[in-house]
């Protein structure tokens, strides 16, 4: 499915995500001149209210196997992309903290943009990861739990 010269890494990580070292991991091949990075950070506002913290929880075994599947799909779909990495955080986070990092590297920009977008959208919709949002008022809720439907069958 994927070429021998491609690489990918997906992880759920409890410790802080180091964006700097991840972006260096993408830069090992000097033939890959188009690098696109998406950083998803915790917002300080949601639903018009001030956010105190978010708690991310994951079903790690399934999230990691499905996450790797998403990266392999991106490499197959965007054949010029040679390296794609996604790290998703877990545990308690405050506004400004890095919750998810996606990077794609390709010889040229177009497929790197597309692969990065493909990965973040799939990660948001398909991985068994949840977040509980606590507002400064003290109210707390599981995001999406009341409003959305199941993970679509593939």
């Amino acid at each position: 499915m994927t070429n021998i010269d491609t690489s990918f890494n997906f992880e759920i990580r409890k410790s802080k995500i180091d964006a700097q070292s991840l972006s260096e991991d993408l830069r090992t091949d000097k033939g890959l001149g188009g690098i696109v990075i998406f950083e998803g950070r915790v917002r300080n506002q949601s639903e018009g209210k001030e956010v105190l913290k978010l708690e991310y929880e994951s079903y790690k075994e399934l999230a990691e196997s499905e996450g790797k599947k998403i990266l392999k799909e991106a490499l197959a779909k965007y054949a010029q992309v040679k390296s794609v990495i996604c790290i998703h955080g877990e545990g308690e986070m405050e506004p400004g903290d890095l919750a998810v990092w996606v990077g794609a590297a390709s010889p040229h920009r177009d497929e790197a943009f597309q692969a990065c977008r493909y990965v973040i959208e799939a990660v948001k919709h398909r991985l068994p990861i949840w977040k509980k949002e606590t507002f400064k008022t003290g109210e707390a809720h599981w995001v999406n739990c009341r409003e959305h439907h199941a993970i679509p069958c593939n």
Partner: protein, 86 residues
């Protein structure tokens, strides 16, 4: 224990809202439910879960499963609330 409804010993893991509603993250249970859907209905009724089966996904032994799948003896089952990664 009749031949029609063998008892299966399984593990159920709970996450997020369902974990809070159940009050624990893992339990081992014996069930005569045949399918994953029957098991969810049994547990949702017993513990008054607020989420309908049609808003959940389900897994068996760390793979996504279908609601009509048979429950395997000794397996680990997870009912997956609506997700919110990213």
């Amino acid at each position: 224990m009749s031949a029609q409804a063998p008892i299966k010993h399984i593990k159920v893991r709970y996450f997020a809202l369902l974990r809070e509603e159940r009050g624990l993250d893992l339990e081992e249970i014996d069930t005569t439910a045949h399918t994953l859907e029957q098991l969810y209905k049994e547990l949702a009724n017993r513990y008054r879960f607020s989420l309908e089966a049609n808003s959940l996904a389900v897994s068996q032994d760390d793979n996504f499963a279908a609601w009509g799948d048979s429950i395997k003896d000794g397996s680990t089952i997870v009912f997956i609330p609506p997700v919110a990664g990213g």
